[in-house]
Symmetry: C2
Subunit: 506 residues, 2 copies
């Protein structure tokens, strides 16, 4: 090994250790808000008016309606109306900051406050890679993607439905997804929200993996419940919300809004609608179990006036987040929103521009939990293998960004100016030699070399380098350790529940 290679190895090892040490990022800079106090007052008043005059529908669950009625909300059929301030009062019991525990305690994440967590995409039925193109996802894809996220230091979370394993029957998918999250990755993950028994199964698997007492007393699942905007929560989401709230697990209420279709065609109106939906839904969580962790989520995409399709990486997407975060702060709730979204079908420049815009906007806004931070293509219909590693590199840059600028005496380096005369260079200066290894962020995916080097190495575009990196990460993947008895109990649980579900038991 040459001296140069030796140095390069040292640097890599040191960087890897540093990254492992941080399961999430603590922000050291402020967040960017685009809403002032006067506008906050307007939006809050409008949300109160919507809840008072229009109300929200909670569908298909008498227990929920009874609970609302019992605590003084005005229930009319499935429509629930709220006096101004009622919801805000009820949600005061929700924690400002909490920990979502991972199976590996070193991977547990803080939700809320100054913490930022980057999480994979959720929900795509398709996968894409450069070799095989776009196709329906399988449980094999789910597992491979979960391994990738385990290996990528800039991804803090294993996510939820990272892709839909469409080769498995719907009623058992959740078992295999939770099994993959628990055995192939040791970062925290998300619970199923498609049926109450699936939520219970996921909680039960966490009890097997992490201990029943621990799970009963701590948040180990973080699950996303979407309202059906405008102003409806359907039966399926409602039941999932109830299961997780009863178990003291976190529920994020995230109105899914295509602006102009599912909300009025403006940011100001959509903010009021989203705030109304979150207020009512988080109030319900707190009625079910006061103190249960919850978060304020948003998914806002303006629709294209040309095609009616959702758009991503737009100015309005970022502006919306930079207002909603302030509304969440006012409620004392952690804020959850979207990251590297794109409408592009492939890992091209459009994917890069749009994903970076949305990810950087979310980071500047101070989103605490950034979902869809890796992999998104085609507006979440597809997850791209190459896109995952490309996005993760940008997450790593964002993590560095929010740590702010070092103005310490060491960083000021005034002695370097005494050492290097005008017109000289600093490469050999003492300060440079002592600090260059960690001074600036170093990505894994960008090619910064000369045109000649790049050409000699095959003139690869970023998605081609990413395809190679995916292969290498999967080849080098090491499964995190797990006690054999725990592993057996998880395997047995999946086998037993599969037999029961196939036999007709829910």
């Amino acid at each position: 090994m040459s001296r140069r290679e030796g140095r390069s190895e040292r640097i890599r090892a040191r960087t890897a250790r540093q990254e492992l040490a941080a399961p999430f990022t603590i922000r050291r800079i402020g967040f960017v808000s685009l809403i002032d106090e006067a506008a906050v007052a307007i939006i809050e008043r409008n949300a109160d008016r919507i809840l008072d005059e229009i109300g929200m529908e909670f569908r298909g669950d008498a227990e929920t309606l009874d609970l609302f009625r019992k605590h003084g909300a005005r229930v009319d059929g499935q429509r629930v109306r709220f006096d101004p301030g009622w919801c805000r009062d009820k949600i005061k019991t929700a924690p400002r900051i909490f920990t979502q525990h991972a199976r590996n305690p070193a991977r547990s994440v803080q939700i809320g406050g100054e913490a930022q967590v980057y999480c994979p995409s959720f929900g795509p039925p398709f996968v894409h890679d450069m070799e095989k193109g776009r196709r329906y996802a399988t449980i094999g894809d789910f597992q491979a993607i979960t391994k990738l996220h385990h290996s990528l230091a800039a991804v803090n979370h294993s996510g939820g439905v990272v892709v839909e394993p469409v080769d498995l029957p719907v009623p058992v998918r959740h078992l295999h997804m939770a099994h993959a999250h628990l055995t192939l990755n040791d970062k925290p993950f998300m619970g199923a929200v498609t049926a109450p028994e699936r939520a219970r199964d996921t909680i039960e698997m966490c009890r097997l993996a992490m201990g029943a007492d621990f799970v009963d007393q701590n948040c180990v699942l973080y699950s996303v419940v979407n309202t059906n905007a405008p102003l409806v929560m359907d039966e399926t989401m409602l039941w999932a919300l109830k299961e997780y709230a009863k178990a003291g697990q976190c529920t994020v209420v995230s109105p899914f809004v295509l602006g102009g279709a599912m909300s009025p065609v403006s940011i100001a109106a959509t903010l009021a609608q989203v705030l109304a939906e979150v207020l009512a839904s988080v109030a319900l969580i707190q009625l079910i179990r006061p103190g249960a962790p919850a978060a304020f989520g948003t998914f806002f995409s303006p629709i294209s006036l040309k095609t009616g399709a959702p758009t991503f990486g737009t100015p309005e997407g970022t502006q919306f987040q930079m207002c909603a975060k302030t509304l969440a702060d006012r409620l004392g709730l952690p804020f959850h929103s979207v990251g590297a979204l794109t409408a592009s079908k492939v890992p091209d420049a459009q994917a890069g521009y749009e994903s970076q815009a949305q990810l950087m906007g979310a980071t500047m806004a101070g989103v605490n939990f950034i979902i869809h931070a890796t992999g998104c293509l085609e507006g979440l219909l597809t997850t791209g293998y190459e896109k995952i590693v490309m996005d993760a590199d940008r997450c790593s840059a964002m993590m560095r960004f929010v740590q702010g600028v070092d103005f310490s005496e060491a960083a000021q380096a005034m002695e370097a100016f005494q050492e290097v005369p005008p017109g000289g260079h600093f490469l050999g200066a003492t300060h440079t030699r002592e600090n260059f290894e960690t001074a600036f962020w170093m990505g894994e995916m960008s090619d910064n070399g000369t045109y000649e080097q790049w050409s000699a190495e095959g003139a690869l575009w970023e998605h081609e380098r990413a395809a190679l990196r995916v292969k290498k990460l999967l080849a080098d993947y090491q499964q995190p350790a797990m006690d054999v008895a725990i592993r057996d109990s998880l395997d047995d649980f999946v086998a037993r529940r599969t037999r029961e579900i196939e036999g007709g038991k829910p």
Copy 2:
């Protein structure tokens, strides 16, 4: 024409008219700073110490040294040292805000204050397109690129050396570049900085095009002078600075810094060095002609510790801008810095991620004049035809972003909630019908349609769609009107000066 097509046409026409109406963007949101008052005080004190203890070298020009000496700076050989506060006092005569006039008054731009101007890349010797690949640029490329920028509403400026026309002899290139800027585009442009007689030629061509009196009394050229960091201004740049300052034209002092090589390997130290260089250089401009317009420029790229090459779209690049802008504000100078930079050799995802990161960072920082906002590839060694139209689309998004969020009563749309019940949709609501055409930003380059539509249209990646758009823009290009006598005078000037220069006269 179907009803649907009719609507689509109307929308396009309206959008185009709106864009034409705005030669630059007035920011309605604050800017993002990462430096607080205490850190500002540290950086300003360190810059003063550098100027006092180390000083700056002004090379090859006795007149400059005499001028500094006469006004009380300490001159020792070519090294000039400054008492703390001396430079800051001298630059007080520079205007906070000024107008750079274009040949077409409707295209004139405000520099400074709340204005944001997006300008093409400067300096690449190569061009790239998907058809012919990378090659040395010619005057034909220069002209084609200048036509493209004339046609793109989101580009506010025609730039300077948009590419180096290497097929022309160096001593006459500036004539043909200024001729292209003045005849093929009617937006403002930049002056040559490679020799004093070339600066004089450019000013003379502006006098022919815009009237001698007008040019003598107004700023019509905006020219970028790079220091040779650390702490040197060379003869060539110094002479250009002097010519433009004497003529009352704007000079931007922009230290070109590869962090870790041309400055210490930290943001804090580089800020102090850059501030010192700008202070001394802008003081010189004000000594030459008090009140001459000037700006505080930065070009900061951290070098890669792996390759020694410059990197772009990094966290530090943005952090640096978000500190330097505040230093410029403290001096009352407009702030000029870099936009959509990338190290990528091709218009791939890396180009998208990096360019968007740097462009969005510059926009958030509140950079008044964003240079290199379109076309950059390979760290400014190349301009890409496709990259120009891709970047311009993102500039358009940024312009919309800085206009902030509308919280007016109309935007609150409270009546829409009365009209649409929970679970309904807003597509047909009165508020939507009245506002959807202008409510959200609409790009030209992103494909937001379905996978099936996209496949049916050829499954084109963004750079492939961009190649088609470049062809269409050039085919549809219409040369801006110019008085025949003016055009003749410009042609004659270029012919005469070419004969003189080829005959040996500078």
